[in-house]
Symmetry: D2
Subunit: 354 residues, 4 copies
């Protein structure tokens, strides 16, 4: 497949299947001399970890990472950083009941048609488990950039965050609005009870970025972020600043103007101009479709081509809203894109001033 690496100068390669003995990531291109501890990586993994509360997949994984190379006396050496995360709670029997079906909304359809094989035991590389490796790499990336990246659950169903009255990390579902949080939890519980699922929108808000992240033409900051976000399983769209609504605005409304102190008075552009960060916070949103694996009856075909109903058995693990667990993944991918852009910037800014 040959498509398991991400980034140009700050580059990660992830490996491992959801039902193998471990997954992992190799980060190449991290400069030497960066302080880094296992605790920082573990902390990031713990935010994403399944099974920690009832709002995510019941799969229980300790996600105890191990750094096996690239660190010496608490600092990066410039050598590739290899991180391993053992799989503990892989339960290959989970999906036995449906292994002969094309599962509606699921990658097993295209994998089987394209490659002729699919590991029915849990999704292989298409599994959300792969995103744990991204989160580990994101923890390293975040050490390179001096930017605070905050992800949050902005919407599920028709419940939308309105006020920002609590810390995102205080919420088990990463929701900053205590009122919306309650309604969201109610909806998630209802979906779980019904064996159904619901989609959601993850928002990103960063501290003001230094000017200069992003390259002209094809490596614009939005382009790199869009590439990163649409590679996350179940993501279906991304919008920056005013986003899809830009289409309804006039230029005189949309243009972000500078006030007397040289500060932008609005951030309709979401933090970039011409693909390059303009000194404002980065603002974008990523939409996630509802989890495809549900316990309701659906029409499909068997692998041998017969029309058939199917539903996941009651005992199967079931994640009613994948958007929750996506929050730390969206954060991680943001940091990774920014770390890569930061290194690119150092090439061309550096030489300019010589």
């Amino acid at each position: 497949m040959g498509s398991n690496s991400f980034g140009k100068l700050f580059r990660m390669t992830t490996w491992g299947e959801s039902h193998g003995e471990a997954i992992g990531v190799v980060v190449d291109g991290c400069p030497a001399g960066i302080e880094l501890s296992l605790e920082e990586i573990q902390k990031a993994l713990d935010r994403r970890r399944p099974g920690k509360n009832r709002f995510t997949s019941p799969r229980k994984e300790a996600d105890q990472a191990k750094i096996v190379s690239g660190l010496f006396e608490g600092k990066t050496t410039g050598a590739p950083i290899s991180i391993l995360i053992p799989n503990l709670d892989a339960d290959p029997s989970q999906y036995d009941a449906v292994k002969n079906h094309y599962r509606p909304g699921h990658a097993n359809y295209t994998y089987l048609k394209k490659y002729g094989i699919f590991d029915h035991r849990g999704g292989g590389r298409a599994s959300a488990r792969e995103t744990a490796a991204r989160v580990a790499a994101g923890a390293i990336a975040s050490k390179l950039i001096n930017v605070q990246v905050t992800g949050f659950l902005k919407q599920i169903g028709d419940i939308i965050v309105k006020e920002w009255d609590q810390e995102v990390n205080e919420s088990p579902i990463f929701c900053p609005d205590s009122k919306a949080e309650k309604e969201m939890i109610q909806l998630i519980d209802q979906m779980r009870d019904e064996g159904d699922s619901v989609g959601g929108i993850v928002g990103i808000q960063t501290s003001p970025l230094p000017i200069g992240f992003g390259e002209p033409v094809y490596e614009k900051l939005e382009a790199e972020l869009a590439y990163a976000m649409l590679s996350i399983p179940a993501s279906k769209g991304i919008e920056f600043g005013a986003g899809m609504l830009s289409s309804q605005m006039s230029g005189s409304t949309h243009n972000d103007c500078l006030d007397e102190t040289g500060t932008f008075t609005t951030n309709h552009c979401g933090g970039t101009l011409g693909g390059i960060s303009n000194g404002m916070p980065l603002e974008f949103r990523v939409s996630f479709k509802p989890t495809s694996s549900i316990k309701k009856v659906q029409m499909t075909q068997t692998l041998s081509g017969e029309s058939s109903q199917m539903k996941l058995p009651k005992s199967a693990r079931h994640d009613p809203c994948i958007a929750i667990r996506a929050v730390p993944v969206v954060e991680a991918m943001t940091s990774i894109v920014l770390a890569d852009a930061f290194l690119k910037m150092s090439v061309y800014k550096n030489n300019l001033s010589d």
Copy 2:
């Protein structure tokens, strides 16, 4: 900057400034033996060409392309295809009046801050002129893939396409709905009169794709398309299938099921599963912000940091809705992504069956 190439196996490198003597593109990786004529490239360029009607930029460019390498007796040879497009109507005096201002919503802010230089005469590489080179490359890409790619203007302001009652190419603004077209034209004319601009949404609808375009994990088809689309100047978002609305749907509604004949009954996913095309048409939408260069007074700063009002002079060229001209560019980038995915597929499908 080092970011002027796009694609991995089907790879284009564009060059040229909006006010230089020419722009161009080198396409590397196009297989040998593909029939290709200058007419096909010219036809694609003519769709995008500015100045052909009152709905786009008044800059008049013949956009007469020239193929200078890679063709022999009407077929590609496998060697790089180099295409030149002369600039005829570059008018460097256009923006003289505002050359000492940071232009609201414009890339000159970030370019000047990052690189210390910006060619005020017309945007240099950040200019929409660069997209002509993409359209030329897209015409080549479209010969590699057996897919019909149709772009259309789906929305400007709050006017949305509802019915599909005319050929897109019959409409000067690529609008398939004759009623919406009339309202859109009215709005565009109004914006031009007011010296203002309006955003818009471009839709893409393809013929059913063969199964197998797109690679797992980071090179998912949506990820590659998102990367391509967000590299187009003024784009601010992309959504596939149900897109941002997926967040409001339940799994039992969103999942595309197979009917008795093995056909998907819906296309909420927009044509991909697990990042790989599933045999359905590709469906996505790209939003464009309103053109930033307007003739209304706006607050900004001069390059030397003084607060100042500015507006473009009456005589300046003005493009009231950049989304119109974006239609052929979105089409071209779609074809280029598909051509690249097609070549990637040939590596791994090919070897599988050996």
Copy 3:
């Protein structure tokens, strides 16, 4: 550093330091459906393994590899193949005596000057230990191509292989000439006794390659092989076919002609024309400098810049001829280059014939 990956379509990323707990490799881009067993990888590693006889480094490593991803029921799945090789006999005290010296002929000089840090305990990424990971990847690559790659020790000192009277693998020093082998062993023993070392030349001879490996212009087969070979520690040159001696030949002598059956009567070109394999065996030679770590007194400086004599202590591990252990590494890199070229070929040949 960001330079730990090799290959374009068949791509490996190696990681790990000589004194960490493990080293490893991730192979991305290996097609699905290739039969692969741990035994095949182990067999390749065993050929390179240090400490197996007195002719190589006394470091004792079991080099017991573990495949942690990418295999399912004995076949590759197309997912990245991650291989771990634990370090057992890392002895950090080995080089304590010289840790404050720039070691003549050694990478610690440039690493310290460039990065400010160097892991004196054993060479870090510059260590020959890294090549074990290449050998593991090479074993996978060799399964993709139907080519027999034979490496052998062609020369050390002034002793040159003349006759080919024994199997390379029967010789503890990979020498196919039993008479030369005896003299070489004598020379190696002498060097060990003197605490000195000697350089050597590794030859590669393959079975006839299919026509078509290698791409025009920059990705010529020789260019890719030269890149691969000169990345092996201690290599100082490469020549193909008549090689450096081509300079002394006339065209009428050097040109390889076709006989009546369409067979080349000579192979002065070493198996390629215009960078593409021509159906003949690949023939090239790689020279290795003598191991820089010796037990003789040499002039150098301390890290603080004082002139100082130094020699490795008697007890230190010492490898009298690194060229011997390089044989399986040169073989592995050859297979990896060929596997990558094979996948590239499948893109463009495949499409040509459509």
Copy 4:
């Protein structure tokens, strides 16, 4: 083919066939603010230009380059630099007489077998004409690095440069030894008279490089240079410092030691340690085979598979020693590799010191 780009951060893409209307190069990644004039590029091209004296190909080309993008007021802008070089003296009838033959030692054999097509009129992309584009890019690269790169003809036949008693550029064959030059000219004239050709060795000697060019593991400076040099048509080998002879040396002789002032007393390594420049001049040699196109009778086959004698007609252009014209190309590729390494270095050195 997809293999017409070279370099990672300083990246060139060449295009054009020997018998098309022009060839060219796009250089992407050159930082902004570098002073650059057409004269500098033209001067480099003039050194390589065919037809300027009797020692190279009689093809007469003015090689008048044109810079069509990337420059503004005498400085690079960071945008891609596009250079065009028209073909004037393309004579398609030159090779008509042999168009139905596999030409011994020539790329038409492998191109025809691999791609099914070959432009018999002059070699297409396999032609030495492509190297003019490299020389133009090399002239840009040389502005980035503060290194003097001197190429010279070191050997043809058995005539070897011994003394360095004249400026390389004073010699029509780039030979620094006036005595050897006379003998070489005699040999070349003899080869021309006989319709035969001879190989040669090109040497490179640079001013002392700053420490730090080159990356660990796969992107070692020697590896990048070897990749570059073996991509030049007709090159068959490369060796650094003591090179192939390293194999015959002992470690105690080969190791370059530091004297009391911290200066290396020898340069057996050729200027690198562990793949990174060590502050010494870079020293390497590249061997070129004799031109394959000769006017002597040789056995071969026709394209339809019949055994046949062939020789080039008397009137055909004939280049008795391609190594001469290779000198500026080897220089150019050296500068390009160094420019790329220089930019890479800026990423990791820069961040280290933060």
